[in-house]
Amino acid sequence: MSHSILVVEDDVDIRQALVEILEEHGFPAVSAGDGAEALDYLRKAPELPCLILLDLMMPVMDGATFREVQRKEPRIASIPVVVLSAYRDLDRHVNGLDAVSVLRKPPSVRELVTVLQAHC
């Protein structure tokens, strides 16, 4: 596994901001606009990311569905996932997703970096 992070987020402004912030703090980042794009990337990637930053509400394939498929594919199943949720009541939306961490949107840069350092 590399030290890169895969950012899965449909909103282009949030996605770009996350990628920039991650790179500024020493984490190379790649991104996908929804769950299907993310799966596509992971299946073809020669080197897998060390962590996936996952939004939940996305068109085409949402975060929960992505996670379901990811966990069934042995090659990518073990990549840890950090969920980003827009909701105040975070745990309502992430039950059963088995995320290593759940951050509320927008995450503070410090908590984001702390979580990433723990897993990458």
Binding site: D11, D13, I14, A17, L18, E20, I21, E24, H25, A86, Y87, R88, D89, D91, R92, K105, P106, P107, S108, V109, R110, V113
Partner: protein, 389 residues
């Protein structure tokens, strides 16, 4: 089968001595018609002049028989219907088809209108010659009003539903770009290598405004969850005293700016099973209100509990809230103070009460205070997972 005694016709009541009791079946029928109260039933001559009148007609239209017999039936029609010749049209149709039915506004003697269902039947003799018309009119005004009321109610409900739906969509849509703005601002503040202190101060201020916007949008989202019944509670065991102290600590700076010292007294740890985030929200909403409306006065929070429930009392020394307003301020978009003096959506107390009630508790104002407002929140120690309505 047993044979029953032959049926005998019940003899007509003995004739009264005045000799007015009906004898023939036609007379009995006339009496029946004249006593009907729910329907105006009367006869017209071939030209439309009234020949008979019953109790229902008098009740519906307001004329006595003496006043109306001999008059033309067009008297009951509105000027608009007269202008388009409706009475003549109806009679012509009844004559042609044997019968005509129509609904519309008709006039009473006093000039008021009623919604009538009218059936006009042509009456002909053995030779097929028109001898007149039988007219039966029913006052359906109440039914029409009920239908209109139902329609208005349905329209009002639809408007409320659309508003709530819009609120939910708007809040969701606002939340995403707001997150992007906050991320960018935070990214600037956390740039490795630091940023110019003057820029930092400005970005920090922008961040604070962003935080306020997030709080406002989240409140709107809560309201839409409450109205759709999807505000779910996730209870866990925690110490209420510690949570209240944390909230107060979080608002310490805010309290200093408002010149309102905040004290917390408790009998000790108060364990219970509640939704921690939601209870924090309730305490925050009441505290923020106190700092806003009662700034410059002390805010005292007192916690106590017994085996089954805990009580949080939050009192300030501000202007207080008149008792007549106590129910109103817990409704949506209401506020204790005039809008022009204070900002906010008027949703804090509404959301607070919904959350407390979802926990099976109550939130009210304490009576009999000489000064300021005192909110009393009672929470049962244990809450089953459920949703607010």
């Amino acid at each position: 089968m047993t044979s029953s005694p032959p049926q005998t016709e019940v003899p007509a009541r003995p004739s009264a001595s005045d000799g007015k009791a009906p004898r023939t079946s036609e007379e009995r029928f006339r009496e029946l018609v004249s006593s009907v109260k729910d329907y105006a039933i009367f006869m017209l001559d071939p030209s439309g002049r009234i020949e008979s009148w019953n109790a229902g007609a008098e009740r519906t239209k307001g004329y006595t028989a003496d006043e109306i017999i001999g008059e033309h039936m067009s008297r009951f029609y509105t000027p608009e219907d007269l202008a388009r010749g409706l009475p003549g049209t109806l009679l012509a149709q009844a004559q042609r088809d044997g019968r005509v039915e129509s609904e519309g506004w008709r006039l009473r003697k006093d000039g008021t209108r009623f919604w009538a269902d009218v059936v006009i039947t042509a009456v002909v003799d053995d030779h097929g010659r028109l001898t007149g018309f039988a007219k039966v009119t029913r006052d359906l005004t109440d039914r029409l009003r009920a239908q209109e009321e139902q329609l208005r109610l349905a329209q009002a409900e639809e408007a409320v539903r659309l508003r709530d739906e819009f609120l939910s969509i708007a809040a969701h849509e606002l939340r995403t770009p707001l997150s992007a703005v906050q991320l960018q601002l935070q990214g600037l503040l956390e740039l490795p290598g630091g940023i110019d202190p003057r820029i930092r101060a400005r970005v920090e201020r922008a961040c604070r405004s962003g935080d306020r916007l997030v709080t406002l949008v989240d409140t709107l989202l809560d309201v839409s969850r409450i109205t759709t019944g999807s505000l779910t509670l996730v209870p866990g065991v925690f110490d209420l005293t510690a949570v209240v102290q944390e909230v107060v600590e979080r608002y310490r700076e805010h309290a200093v700016r408002a010149h309102s010292p905040v004290t917390v007294r408790s009998t000790g740890p108060l364990q219970g099973r509640w939704d921690r985030l939601r209870i924090e929200q309730v305490v925050t909403n009441i505290l923020v209100n106190a700092l806003k409306y009662a700034s410059g006065t002390q805010v005292d929070i007192v916690l106590s509990g017994d085996e089954s429930e805990v009580t949080i009392r939050m009192a300030d020394g501000g202007p207080g809230i008149p008792e007549s307003e106590w129910e109103r301020i817990f409704r949506r978009f209401e506020r204790a103070a005039p809008m022009r003096n204070f900002g906010g959506l008027g949703l804090g107390l509404y959301v607070a009460r919904q959350i407390v009630e979802a926990h099976g508790g109550t939130i009210d104002l304490a009576p009999g205070r000489a000064r300021g407002a005192e909110f009393v929140i009672r929470l049962p120690r244990s809450t089953a997972p459920g949703s607010a309505r």
